[in-house]
């Protein structure tokens, strides 16, 4: 049985290799593509065909700032950008008979989606190692939907302003001609991310949002005000309210009250020795508003957020190894003389010293500046290295973080008419197996729970319609790894209901393994299963996807 299974794997892999090689060869002539360029490897990004077909989706963390470009041959490109929790979802339709194909390049920093004519309309993902050719790129403009529902209106009928964002692109984008490399990525079926228990995205976000207020409002503000003093805080608030008492649209603020008030007196030693101070120092508030910008839409939404780190064994400020590393800092030698100044009641000797000081002042100043610059450059490199090492050392440290964000809405934009508009609660507990040999440096277990109330989500049955949803979410993830092997197990449970309907339960699990074959080539194996109770019936676990591929991109976030 085992031999049969392995033989089946090999045969299907070879068959798929030949299939992809043929289709890649066919498209090298006139490539039609969209390019997403990221500043760093996009480990948490994903691509898929929508379940309805003819729409391709690229799902990236909101923190990833992708620049977009398209090939000149791609016309009538209709890109929609949706902000959904902490992720940005780019979606664009493609013509029937066209097969979008995602190509990850340059260590997952560049994603190119090719529209290949004349092949099966099945999404595929490949990795490029072949020759490149340059093509002129064209800027594209995307409408950003700030409420995460696709068309800029919310479920209760009150429209919300849609910001128009210009998605910049590099002057010249490099178009890849997918090569004949051994890079198959067969999917057995189209995947629906929003389906209960979908295994389309194996890396569910199990973090507590840094700024819960932004998450609840579904906004990813370009500019966040982070006042570092009480005066700056007051000024920010003043700037955020107009003369009629209405908040300015898009105001987003992040601040730590304790640091605002007592940051000047917060020494490192005080932080290290007083638990209450640590707790207060890491209690962060966020505040966000969105306001309609048109006469039809005067609604204003407001959310407050609280982010609390109750416990963190990976706190860099309590990392003694980091402190020891930073002690290598260099200080410049003291200046040979300070700024020239006569002392009180100067003597002749003082005047003579003052005269000599003035003569050599400029040379001394320049020498001092050079020494300071030299020390500063050295310290910069030491600090960066030490902090990187600290992050790697503490990537899996145990911690407990909670976040909460209530929100309110005023349909007429008046602050006096604010009413409850739902909210969210998140908590994540991470265990780093401290003191457990073999697991301490390479494994992590995360338990995550969240509750969202009155979240506006797309109606799965009616395009363009939106529903209010309450949901509970529980997730558990165990991951372990080494430089050459990574493994991950994930289980999630979702209990949700649309307004006026019964609760629906769904759960899913996934197993991922990847092993480095050579260089940047990884062997990936993923298994997923799901069970959901819909219409009162339980479905058993079903194997929904099986993926076997070689890729230059890691799919399982690797332990550092």
């Amino acid at each position: 049985m085992k031999r049969r299974f392995i033989a089946w794997l090999l045969i299907s892999h070879l068959l798929l290799l030949s299939h992809v090689a043929v289709s890649q060869t066919a498209q090298t002539g006139d490539a039609t593509f969209v390019t997403f360029t990221f500043t760093s490897p996009c480990e948490d990004c994903a691509t898929q065909n929508s379940v309805a077909g003819n729409v391709y989706i690229v799902d990236v963390p909101a923190a990833r700032n992708a620049s977009l470009a398209k090939s000149p041959s791609l016309r009538d490109f209709n890109l929609q950008v949706t902000l959904r929790n902490d992720r940005i979802v780019y979606s664009f339709p493609f013509k029937l008979g066209t097969s979008p194909r995602a190509v990850w390049r340059q260590g997952a920093t560049v994603l190119q989606v090719f529209f290949v004519p004349g092949v099966d309309n099945v999404a595929a993902s490949v990795s490029d190692v072949g020759p490149e050719r340059a093509a002129a790129a064209t800027n594209v403009t995307a409408a950003v939907d700030t409420n995460g529902n696709g068309n800029g209106s919310v479920g209760n009928g009150s429209p919300i302003s849609a910001l128009t964002a210009s998605v910049s692109s590099p002057a010249v984008a490099t178009a890849a001609a997918p090569s004949q490399s051994p890079t198959p990525m067969p999917f057995t079926s189209l995947l629906n991310r929003d389906a209960p228990g979908s295994t389309a995205f194996t890396n569910v976000d199990m973090s507590v949002p840094e700024s819960p207020a932004f998450t609840v409002l579904g906004v990813t503000p370009e500019t966040v005000i982070r006042p570092t003093s009480p005066r700056a805080f007051a000024t920010s608030l003043l700037n955020g309210v107009d003369q009629n008492g209405n908040f300015q649209s898009g105001l987003a603020m992040d601040f730590v009250p304790y640091l605002l008030v007592a940051g000047d007196d917060l020494t490192l030693r005080k932080y290290q020795t007083k638990q209450v101070v640590r707790l207060l120092s890491r209690t962060q508030f966020s505040f966000a508003t969105t306001k309609g910008a048109t006469t039809e839409d005067k609604s204003m939404r407001l959310a407050l957020g609280l982010h609390l780190t109750l416990w963190d064994r990976g706190d860099p400020r309590t990392d003694e190894t980091l402190m020891s590393c930073l002690s290598a800092f260099r200080l410049p030698p003291p200046p040979t003389m300070l700024e020239c100044e006569l002392p009180d009641n100067p003597t002749d000797a003082d005047r003579e010293a003052f005269r000599k000081c003035q003569e050599s002042a400029e040379a001394t100043r320049q020498e001092r500046a050079r020494q300071v610059q030299e020390a500063r450059e050295f310290n910069d490199s030491v600090s960066t290295k030490c902090r990187d090492e600290s992050r790697q050392r503490n990537w899996n440290a145990s911690s407990w973080i909670i976040g909460a964000a209530p929100s309110w809405i005023s349909t007429d934009g008046q602050t006096k008419n604010m009413r409850w508009n739902g909210g969210g609660f998140w908590t994540s507990v991470a265990y780093g197996f401290e003191g457990v040999p073999g697991l301490e440096s390479r494994s992590q277990l995360i338990l995550h729970g969240r509750y969202r109330n009155r979240e506006v989500v797309p109606d799965p049955n009616t395009a363009g319609a939106f529903l209010s949803q309450d949901s509970y979410f529980f997730g558990a993830r165990f991951r372990t790894g080494s430089p050459t092997f990574n493994g991950s197990f994930e289980y999630t449970f979702l209990r949700s209901r649309f307004a006026g309907l019964r609760f629906d339960n769904a759960s899913r699990f996934s197993l991922l393994f990847e092993r480095r074959i050579a260089g940047d080539t990884w062997f990936n194996l993923s298994l997923g299963g799901e069970s959901g109770r819909q219409d009162g019936r339980n479905n058993g676990f079903v194997l929904t996807s099986f993926k076997w591929a070689f890729s230059d991109r890691r799919n399982v976030p690797s332990p550092q």
């Binding site: 982070r226 570092t228 003093s229 640091l259 940051g263 000047d264 007196d265 917060l266 020494t267 490192l268 030693r269 005080k270 932080y271 290290q272 120092s281 860099p316 400020r317 980091l322 402190m323 930073l326 002690s327 800092f329 260099r330 200080l331 410049p332 003291p334 200046p335 040979t336 003389m337 300070l338 700024e339 020239c340 100044e341 002392p343 009180d344 003082d350 010293a353 003052f354 000081c357 300071v372 020390a375 500063r376 310290n379 910069d380 600090s383 960066t384 902090r387």
Partner: protein, 126 residues
């Protein structure tokens, strides 16, 4: 720019200087005493860390009277400990004599990775 000044009681005890670095940032620092003409630096303490268990407070000189017109100089290399945006540093020196706080001198600014900052004060006898 002229050196700042702090008044000491001639018949008081030896003054002390304490360095504090706000916002829980890391710092390594030196303290020197210069003569009345701002030359000939003598170390009070060098290569001190704010992360160890040694208090960051030090006596200056051997007597208050001998410090007249001398200049205290301190410098520090300060570092952030995480990558959070919009961080600021504060380097504060507190001069005390006989347990009484005489003056506080602050230097502050924004910090991305590391900074080196310095400050001076001239002792003046009352």
């Amino acid at each position: 720019m002229a050196h700042k000044r702090v008044s000491l009681k001639r018949d008081g005890g030896v003054p002390s200087v304490e360095l504090r670095f706000g916002n829980a940032l890391f710092a390594k620092y030196d303290i020197f005493l210069f003569d009345r003409n701002g030359m000939n630096p003598q170390p009070i303490k060098t290569n001190q860390l704010n992360s160890d268990n040694i208090p960051d407070i030090f006596e200056v000189g051997t007597s208050a009277a001998a410090l007249d017109q001398q200049i205290l100089f301190w410098q520090a290399a300060i570092s952030v400990l995480d990558n959070k945006p919009d961080q600021t540093y504060l380097m504060r020196a507190i001069i005390t004599q006989d347990g009484r706080e005489l003056a506080t001198f602050d230097k502050r600014g924004s910090i991305v990775n590391t900074v080196i900052d310095q400050d001076t004060v001239r002792f003046v006898l009352e």
